[in-house]
Symmetry: C2
Subunit: 232 residues, 2 copies
């Protein structure tokens, strides 16, 4: 890659990346040692993503105009243009397993986390961006953000069960990707970092087997994740 | 391995292996080209498994007395004593992903399939074995087998959603393990083959993306799976 790609990133009022999928892209870029030119935008500026050829955040546009408009497409594109170090140690088997886990996160884990943290997200937005978020999500869910999160403690229990396959994946080595962190780790990290940035509500307890793993992910790539403060 | 291990296998009245976990062990052995000496037993003969040093089916006992008393332990043991061809193409990353999928199957997929096929299982058992199964499962679930399966059509819909991560894993290649079938394929195959052997109820439709995959798994290792007829 001769010149830096542009990454259209969704951010909070404090400039922190806001979305699991944006964190996937950021961690994948850092894994490859590619310094993207980040274009920080808020929800109300999504038209700029669309104008650049995408559908939503995150969007990557390379110097030659190649557009990757989804975190999973970005990941595969990065693997193609910069194979080393791989995001999928283990090759095709590892990529197929990643596809499995990605779908699990998308359809099972993420909706549960939404029901835990959604009502806190307006606090990290402001002005028109905050208004847009509250209105669009109230319409999407057909109820207030408070109502979506009314059973958040129960959903935290559900989440703990849903995280169990990840705990099992950690059992033999330090990382979900095996001996070293890679895309399967960034997959779960993206969701947990999103929650960390948007909500003071603790998704997991301090003695959870995933806590030391999360701490090590926050330190990775020069502390890329930890550089963004947790919501308070 | 100098002489054949013994595999304690749980069987139907017609001698067909009956349990997802037994199928995992059978497919793993076939993958390695190891011909085990199969000891076919029914539910009421579980005391023989316990006498041999196990807790439940399947149990593998090697010529030197080494006992592996769980399908996952059997799988890891086979990988250790006979590394080629590997059950985990992709190494540590692939094994960690398998641990993830195994937990998913155990805690999410399997309980759904139980609610679809349980009431059909007595039809493939007879005599004391059938009586034991009905009584023990009625006690375990606190209701009749018919009641457990009262919403089987709805559970089939749930199952279809729960199978989606597997469909995604297939999207890029022919198999869940990547380019060639291996343990991650046997994992899902075990559950589907168990249902196929025990119940005439079709878990998935003919046009499901998993149907051609299932057909190819049935043909694998000299048609090991297909040699056991489907319940009718």
């Amino acid at each position: 890659m001769t010149s830096a790609p542009i990454l259209y990133d969704l951010i909070t009022k404090d400039g922190a990346a806001l979305s699991p999928w944006c964190w996937h892209a950021k961690m994948a870029l850092a894994h490859k040692g590619i310094a993207a030119e980040v274009k920080p935008l808020d929800f109300t500026q999504k038209d700029q993503v669309i104008a650049a050829g995408g559908k939503s955040f995150p969007l990557m546009v390379e110097a030659d105009g190649t557009v990757s408009d989804d975190s999973k497409i970005i990941t595969d594109r990065l693997e193609e243009i910069c194979p080393t170090p791989t995001l999928f140690p283990g090759g095709a088997a590892s990529h197929a397993a990643y596809d499995f886990m990605h779908r699990y996160v998308q359809t099972i884990l993420f909706p549960t986390v939404v029901k835990i943290i959604l009502k806190d997200i307006p606090d990290v937005l402001d002005g028109a961006d905050r208004d847009y978020f509250i209105e669009s999500r109230t319409t999407r869910f057909g109820k207030s953000l408070d109502e979506v999160c009314a059973q958040r403690d129960a959903h935290r229990e559900t989440l703990s069960t849903q995280l169990d396959p990840f705990r099992k994946a950690l059992a033999k080595g330090g990382f979900i990707s095996g001996d070293t962190p890679a895309m399967a780790d960034y997959l779960l990290f993206g969701v947990m970092q999103w929650a960390r940035v948007c909500s003071p509500y603790a998704l997991i307890s301090a003695d959870d087997a995933l806590t030391p793993w999360m701490e090590s992910l926050l330190d990775l790539h020069g502390g890329l994740g930890r550089a963004t403060p947790a919501a308070s």
